[in-house]
């Protein structure tokens, strides 16, 4: 969730509420520790209450996952849940740390708190990514599409390019022998109605084959096609725009001038593919943190449950409210 000056308002009550709660907890914790030789432990009154609070928050935090799956349930907007998730999650950190009494404790307690800190850290990292990456995508990937559609669109682009190459070279080797239209639509998103979303360009393909241009076919087969299909993984030599400029400059020297518009169209397609690679990479950064955050959260819930059972059953400390 992007938090900016523009949409800061709905966060304010959460920040104030959680801030006050953290301060109150700290004050109580300090007050309870007066006269004690060490910080109050997790089993002390204050420690237990703070631990309980942190534990309940953890459970609530965890519920965001099923909440997001129940998309048709009207139990508060997901946005509201996420806001609560962010600020309560941050509140849980001081509560949990005070609950430990600044000690790692036994292996189970230590593992729980360490995983807890990692969960919070990965979440904070995710939040940071969400602040930075969307606007980077906006700036760096004007040809942005839906990430899961990149392979499909790449195939379409490679097919368009193959038709163009066949129109220029006058052969139709391994690509479907199509009737060449007088025009060729090369685009990222199709079928978006009469006002096409972003059809990148419509270029006239040559009416008839251009003599002496067969060399384009081998360039296409060996490098352009693999690049259009799989990006950097298909042909690393086109992965940077500088490399691509050199590549196409060289290609132009082998080709008749009449074929240069077609080469420009191919260069544009490669540029589009480069943007999709970049988009996939940024998308990876934008969402990769979840691969850590989610499994760690599941692990945390398991550890937390074990910790609760352990503490209640085997704790050597007297439980203040019980006895």
């Amino acid at each position: 969730m992007l938090i900016t000056g523009e949409n800061f308002r709905p966060h304010v009550p959460w920040i104030i509420g959680c801030g006050l709660a953290a301060l109150a907890a700290a004050a109580w914790f300090l007050a309870e520790s007066i006269g004690l030789a060490a910080w109050p432990s997790g089993g002390s009154r204050v420690g237990l209450v703070l631990g309980l609070g942190a534990g309940l928050i953890c459970w609530f935090e965890f519920l965001l996952w099923p909440r997001k799956k129940m998309r048709t349930w009207r139990i508060g907007t997901v946005q509201l849940w996420l806001r609560a998730h962010i600020w309560l999650g941050l509140l849980a950190l001081p509560l949990a740390i005070m609950h430990t009494g600044f000690r790692l404790g036994g292996p189970l307690s230590a593992a729980t708190i360490i995983v807890f800190v990692l969960v919070i850290a990965s979440g904070a990292w995710g939040l940071l990514m969400q602040q930075l990456i969307p606007s980077r995508i906006l700036d760096l990937v004007p040809a942005e599409t839906i990430v899961s559609q990149i392979p499909h669109l790449s195939r379409l682009a490679a097919h368009d390019a193959a038709r163009l190459v066949s129109a220029v070279c006058g052969d139709s080797q391994d690509d479907e022998p199509d009737n060449y239209d007088n025009y060729l639509v090369i685009g990222a998103s199709r079928h978006v109605g009469a006002l096409q979303g972003r059809v990148l360009m419509t270029r006239a393909a040559p009416q008839e084959p251009i003599p002496d241009s067969l060399v384009l076919r081998s360039y296409f087969q060996n490098s352009l096609k693999p690049y259009l299909l799989s990006g950097r993984a298909g042909f690393p030599g086109l992965a940077h725009s500088r490399q691509a400029d050199e590549y196409f400059a060289e290609l132009r020297t082998h080709m008749p001038v009449a074929a240069h518009p077609a080469i420009a169209a191919l260069a544009d397609l490669c540029d589009q593919r480069r943007q999709w690679d970049r988009q996939a990479w940024l998308h990876g950064w934008l969402h990769a943190w979840l691969l850590i955050h989610l499994p760690l959260s599941v692990l945390l819930m398991i550890l937390l449950s074990a910790h609760v059972v352990w503490a209640l059953k085997y704790s050597t400390h007297p439980i203040p409210f019980i006895n």
Binding site: M1, K68, R71, T77, V78, P134, V192, L195, G197
Partner: protein, 799 residues
């Protein structure tokens, strides 16, 4: 008429708009009217009228025919191949008349000429004989239509025979043909019986001209000539989309409804609705001349409702897509909440280039949200009915003489402008848009409806314009003003793309926008740029007319338009001629002052814009993308959106796993307008539906009812690609035509589109499920405001 491409093109002003036409066409349209006689009755007709090709939007002169003159003279000439809304082809010669020449002429095709003395079958024995023989021959050559499903059809050939007194129960003096020309039952929807076809070509023109489906044509020669689908394929294997237009156009029942998938009328919701049948409807004068087959095919689009005194028929502010024909009883029409009608919204006070931009998009939206934005000085309230309401006593009575009400909502999808309540026990026919469209194709119904519409729209618009109501606060004076203006104003109706006037033209009229949006653009050194758009309630054209006033003398060119104004969608304008406008200014100094202020503001803006060179936001792009019309765009803020696809998944979860939005589409600044229904104010998709199943119920969202026949017209007509086709099981089974002995299930293709989750709880799931505050529903105007704010912010950061 044929168009000579090498001819000089000249602009002419016709029916309140600038039209570019070939010189000869322009001369025809501006030629003096001609006098001619039909069976001794003298009539005066124009040489041609301006027509628009429904498919290309091209304007052309439609020559006035002898048949048109006969209609004017109220002399009934039988026609078979001719329909008012189709190009005349004169293949049947049923409309034969004597025009004094050697041969008889086809009235539907023969253009009027001065001094023609036309004799029809009523006064000429020669004509009567010719038509009689023709009828007998055609009857002998044609089988009566076969099939049990035909009881609802009416054979127009038999009607003509009856009219001419030809006995059809006795054997014909001409030998009956025995040859069976075959049947085609390959289509699930329409059966073709070639033996009953008289080759009138009505179906061919219906398919190609009216629906632009280009499926039907002719094949074979001589006796084997027949109608053919695509390259003479069986109908069910052709590109036919089953829209039914050919079937409803066929005069003989050669094309008929197989009624495999029956559609049920929408009976629910309101009290006491009953289904009607075609005979029932044909007894109403408004439906006279409407094809019985059409009514039978579209019977789900008409229901009869009976309201007891005090019951509400429709409520102000509700959306809808139906109109009501008053059969019996009286109704009261009034406003729910007093004085919440001012269309003048705060946005109109905004200064800067977009001051007039969203004058009314928001105005309309506000009505829906019951805005208290009122104009206490308004005396009269514009409503969607043939009467106007007095603020002091906002109640008027509608009777059967008013014919119908609610057609503005039905045709233009604007919210209902008043509440209607039964005063006595009333019987109403509620009709859907497709039926109203067809009524407007019939000359008689159209003239009845047009009269009502023109009178009502002009009157109610004048009473509703804030400009006037603000200026004249005295009730009696205001009444006198409306009275005095009534005969001085004209209603101008425009199609998308039509030009009202062009920059540099001499000014002749002042215009008030009643329905739709117009674009104001100016030619600049870098090309033409859009500088504003004006919606319902707005006005334009005053600057050139007021240029002689001292206050504006040095600010603009005298009497010359400073911008081009053209229609963005279907637009109704109320125009006031220059002389009347100037008289108005001198009589009402308050109106003069208000207009002067507005003119100065617009001129200042214009100057500022010229200095800057361009607008901060690409208004031209905004208009080109039709965003001004949108009432509920799904807008994703790409700075916040994490591309998590929760919105799409939520949509799919709400609609049985099939998403109705695609997170891709056009971009406007840093916003992505996702491909999902925008709930346009003037929905393109609803225009062509042959059965009226895509409609608005009582709120903003557009729904597709389950009687959709899957013709795909709406999907094709939506310029934004927001409607998709999906197959749905019907539960029925049919014999497999390819494998005898086997049955296969029948699936019905239907259109699907975003219904703003009205099937769930009306809260769009996409917005509800977005975790990142990135997805929002908003009007086009709101998107514009947001973009301006964003641009301002960015400019602030840069400087």
């Amino acid at each position: 008429m044929s168009i000579n491409l090498s001819e000089e093109i000249v602009p002419v002003v016709l029916e309140g708009q600038v039209v570019e036409l070939e010189k000869s066409a322009a001369e025809l349209l501006t030629a003096p009217r001609v006098k001619l006689k039909i069976d001794g009755i003298e009539v005066e007709m124009p040489r041609a009228t301006l027509a628009t090709d429904p498919n290309t939007g091209r304007k052309f002169p439609r020559l006035t025919t002898v048949y048109d003159a006969a209609v004017e003279a109220k002399v009934a000439v039988p026609v078979l191949c001719h329909r008012d809304h189709m190009t005349p082809v004169a293949v049947c010669r049923f409309c034969t008349v004597e025009v004094g020449g050697r041969v008889l002429a086809a009235a539907c095709h023969r253009a009027v000429e001065p001094g023609l003395d036309v004799k029809t079958h009523k006064t000429s024995a020669k004509v009567r004989k010719a038509i009689g023989v023709l009828t007998e021959l055609l009857l002998a050559d044609k089988h009566p239509p076969r099939g049990a499903h035909l009881e609802s059809e009416r054979d127009e050939l038999l009607s003509v025979a009856a009219e001419l007194g030809i006995k059809t129960d006795k054997p014909s003096r001409f030998p009956l043909t025995v040859r069976d020309r075959g049947r085609d039952e390959s289509s699930m929807v329409i059966a073709v019986d070639h033996s009953s076809c008289i080759l009138c070509d009505r179906c061919v023109r219906a398919c190609n001209e009216i629906r632009n489906n280009q499926v039907l044509g002719r094949a074979g020669k001589g006796y084997t000539a027949r109608i053919a689908f695509d390259l003479d394929n069986p109908m069910g294997e052709s590109d036919c989309v089953s829209c039914g237009e050919c079937m409803v156009s066929c005069p003989t029942g050669a094309l008929s409804n197989r009624a495999v998938v029956e559609a049920k009328p929408w009976i629910g919701a309101k009290p006491a609705a009953t289904a009607v049948n075609a005979d029932d409807l044909l007894s109403h004068p408004l439906f006279e001349g409407i094809s019985r087959a059409f009514l039978a095919w579209n019977i789900q689009s008409v229901v009869r409702r009976v309201y007891e005194p005090g019951e509400i028929v429709c409520r102000e502010g509700e959306f809808g897509s139906s109109a009501f024909i008053i059969e019996e009883g009286d109704l009261e029409i009034f406003l729910d909440a007093e004085m919440k009608h001012a269309a003048k919204s705060k946005s109109s006070q905004r200064t800067g280039i977009f001051g007039l931009v969203k004058t009314v998009v928001t105005g309309l939206a506000k009505r829906e949200t019951k805005s208290p934005d009122v104009d206490a000085r308004r005396n009269y309230i514009p409503i969607d009915a043939p009467v106007s309401l007095e603020m002091a006593r906002p109640i008027a009575t509608l009777t059967p003489a008013d014919i119908l009400f609610g057609e503005m909502t039905c045709m233009s999808s604007y919210p209902r402008s008043a509440t209607v309540r039964a005063k006595t026990r009333v019987k109403l026919l509620e009709i859907q848009r497709n039926v109203l469209y067809t009524l407007q194709r019939s000359k008689k119904a159209k003239s009845m409806l047009d009269d009502v519409y023109r009178k009502r729209s002009i009157d109610s618009h004048l009473r509703g314009v804030a400009l006037f109501a603000d200026a004249i606060t005295n009730n009696a004076e205001f009444n006198a003003f409306v009275e005095s203006m009534r005969d001085k104003v004209k209603l101008v109706r425009l199609n998308p793309g039509d030009t009202v006037f062009r920059q540099g033209d001499l000014a002749d009229n002042f215009y008030l926008v009643r329905v739709g949006f117009v674009k104001v653009s100016q030619g600049r050194p870098g090309g033409e740029i859009a500088i504003a758009y004006i919606g319902p309630g707005g006005h334009f054209g005053e600057i050139a007319l007021m240029s002689q006033l001292l206050e504006l003398a040095d600010k603009t060119l005298p009497g010359v338009r400073i911008a081009t104004v053209s229609a963005l969608d279907h637009v109704d304008l109320v125009s006031i001629a220059a002389t009347d406008f100037l008289e108005l200014l001198s009589r009402y100094p308050t109106i003069r002052a208000a207009l002067l202020k507005e003119a100065e503001r617009r001129l200042d803006q214009n100057r500022a814009l010229t200095k800057k060179g361009s607008t901060e936001i690409n208004l031209g792009e905004f208009l080109k993308q039709g965003l001004m019309d949108a009432q509920s765009l799904l807008v994703l803020d790409l700075e916040k959106c994490t591309r998590c696809d929760e919105c799409t998944k939520a949509c799919a979860d709400t609609h049985q796993g099939v998403t109705r939005l695609v997170r891709e589409g056009l971009r406007f600044e840093n916003f992505l307008v996702a491909s999902s229904c925008r709930s346009c104010l003037d929905p393109h998709c609803m225009v062509g539906c042959p059965v009226g199943s895509i409609r608005r119920r009582s709120s903003r969202e557009i729904v597709i009812e389950d009687w959709c026949i899957g013709c795909g017209k709406c999907a094709e007509n939506c310029p934004y690609g927001n409607i998709n086709m999906h197959p749905f099981p019907t539960g029925k089974k049919m014999a497999d035509p390819n494998q005898p002995g086997r049955t296969i299930p029948v699936v019905q293709q239907k259109a699907t589109m975003c219904d703003l989750c009205s099937s769930l709880d009306g809260t769009p799931s996409c917005v509800y499920a977005c975790p990142h505050d990135a997805a929002h529903r908003m009007t086009g105007g709101e998107l514009m405001t947001l973009s301006i704010r964003r641009a301002d912010r960015l400019a602030g950061t840069k400087s």
